[in-house]
């Protein structure tokens, strides 16, 4: 049974604007590490953001663990979001807060407003944060402010924050585009290991096809809001890539 099942997803940002996703469908299985590739503006970020409804689709269906995401009310939506880890291209950390507080903010979906306000996280949460930080190799930077870290380290904080959520699914929007090639590879390797350890399926936007082929087991090719390819990485070839990227030079 598939964990995530997206059917005929259509998105417009405004009533009169162009259709950004034109009926996209796909299924994600338990141990999938999906890469979503395609030219700039194809709708990759839009697609990822629909899954946790940072973008509201116009029509279609998103079944996650048997729940219809699109029919949730705002309270249920928050419950859903806390189980979906998201990692961003520009890390989206709160610069003026410590690494610890940034990581703990991954628990916000599980605590009440008062706990959040006074940062009264439980001992269990703090212990967990420390072990997660250790797992991503940041044990030495716990008390630093987020803006004192390098790009690679900041993305590790982003990964740690997502892990704090106890995620049932990871959404990654170009997690390595702000990093140099060597660090990119390290970060992708870390994410892949963690996904296997925690047994979470991953949906990852990426424009570096090389990285996609190396780390992902399945690929979705998007072009102008239409799915052009959907299959195991082994079935991807140069000809199909050329089709997805159309006129673009690789």
């Amino acid at each position: 049974m598939s964990i995530l099942s997206v059917k005929d997803l259509k998105v417009r940002y405004s009533a009169s604007g162009p259709e950004i996703l034109k009926g996209v469908s796909f299924d994600v299985e338990e141990d999938d590490f999906f890469a979503i590739i395609g030219p700039s503006g194809a709708g990759k970020s839009t697609l990822i953001r629909c899954i946790n409804r940072l973008v509201e689709p116009k029509s279609g269906s998103i079944l996650l663990y048997g729940t219809e995401v699109l029919s949730l009310n705002s309270r249920q939506l928050r419950r859903l979001r806390r189980g979906i880890g998201m990692i961003f291209q520009e890390f989206n950390l709160v610069d003026r807060m410590s690494v610890m507080d940034n990581v703990l903010s991954g628990r916000l979906g599980y605590v009440g407003n008062i706990t959040g306000l006074f940062r009264l996280f439980s001992k269990a949460d703090i212990t967990r944060a420390l072990s997660v930080l250790d797992r991503v190799g940041l044990s030495d930077h716990v008390d630093k402010r987020a803006d004192q870290l390098s790009g690679g380290q900041r993305q590790r904080v982003g990964i740690a924050r997502a892990l704090m959520q106890d995620p049932k699914l990871l959404l990654l929007d170009e997690p390595t585009s702000s990093l140099d090639p060597k660090i990119s590879r390290e970060v992708m390797a870390l994410i892949m290991e963690i996904a296997a350890e925690y047994k979470v399926p991953v949906l990852c936007n990426i424009h570096d096809v090389q990285l996609a082929m190396e780390f992902c087991n399945k690929i979705i090719g998007l072009q102008d809001g239409i799915k052009m390819f959907d299959g195991p990485t082994s079935e991807m070839n140069t000809k199909k890539l050329d089709e997805i990227y159309a006129m673009e030079v690789l």
């Binding site: 946790n52 928050r78 998201m86 961003f88 989206n92 003026r96 903010s105």
Partner: protein
């Protein structure tokens, strides 16, 4: 030849335009002059009690009465001076609390219901700023009676506008990425505010609050004029009892207080930001 003629025509046109501009300018000068003359006549010539002012010597004599310091008054200034600072501080703090809805409603990117909440916040800010603190104080003296409480309320209400406006603008300019991240982990709107918005605007807010506190010391030192406590009240009393050196003494005390406020503000700002 044709070009020479064109030039002559051009010269004509420019001269005509310039003389027209000159006429307009002369007219503007005349109007301004008339307005000044009219204002001087109503406010100074007609409104001044020339007979009472007397000769230049008399004026100088009256001014001289203010020279000198009433040393005996100093011990009695300590308490009002403290009160002035307390009024400024409490007023600023209360102002910060009252600001919260104005900030929340007044920042376009977080205002809950634009058509109603946004104009409401803007109205709050404008009212607070466009009414003078003395007028606010008169209003609160009427409402809660004479004394420092009226001063605190006046200062608080008068502070809303500036703090709220600057903070709301800072919120409008903030980086939306952390906001999105906190939403994505399932945070409530309140948590989004506390975790993603507040840390970004806190430095601005603290700076603005300190600045406002410093100004509020100035404000609270005159509020006594309308019976709202502090040094102003002593000032008023000296003036009423014709103790002119005493008036000078209070003015010096106010000056010292303001310098103190500026100093504190300078150091706190340096420490915090």
């Amino acid at each position: 030849m044709a070009s020479a003629q064109a030039t002559a025509e051009q010269v004509e046109r420019i001269i005509a335009a310039r003389s027209k501009a000159k006429l307009v300018r002369s007219l503007i000068y005349a109007v301004v002059l008339l307005l000044v003359a009219w204002s001087v006549n109503t406010t100074i010539i007609e409104d001044t009690d020339w007979a009472r002012m007397g000769s230049v010597a008399n004026v100088l004599e009256s001014v001289a009465e203010f020279i000198g310091i009433d040393w005996g008054l100093f011990p009695h200034l300590l308490e009002p001076a403290l009160e002035t600072i307390m009024v400024a501080t409490l007023g600023t703090l209360l102002g910060v609390v009252l600001c919260v809805p104005a900030i929340w409603f007044g920042a376009l990117n977080i205002t809950p219901f634009m058509p109603i909440t946004y104009p409401f916040a803007r109205l709050m800010m404008t009212l607070s700023r466009s009414i003078h603190e003395i007028v606010w104080a008169l209003f609160f003296v009427a409402a809660v009676g004479l004394g420092a409480l009226a001063g605190v309320l006046a200062i608080a209400v008068r502070s809303i506008g500036f703090i709220a406006k600057m903070t709301a603008e800072a919120i409008e300019d903030l980086d939306p990425k952390p906001v999105e991240a906190i939403r994505a982990v399932g945070g409530s709107e309140f948590q989004v505010f506390v975790y993603a918005i507040l840390p970004q605007v806190l430095p601005v807010m603290v700076g603005v609050i300190i600045f406002e506190w410093e100004i509020n010391i100035r404000r609270s030192s005159v509020l006594g004029l309308v019976g709202a406590g502090g040094l102003g009240l002593v000032f008023f009393r000296q003036l009423n009892t014709f103790n002119h050196p005493g008036v000078t003494t209070v003015i010096i005390a106010i000056l010292i207080l303001i310098l103190f406020g500026e100093l504190v503000s300078y150091f706190v700002r340096k420490a915090v930001i």
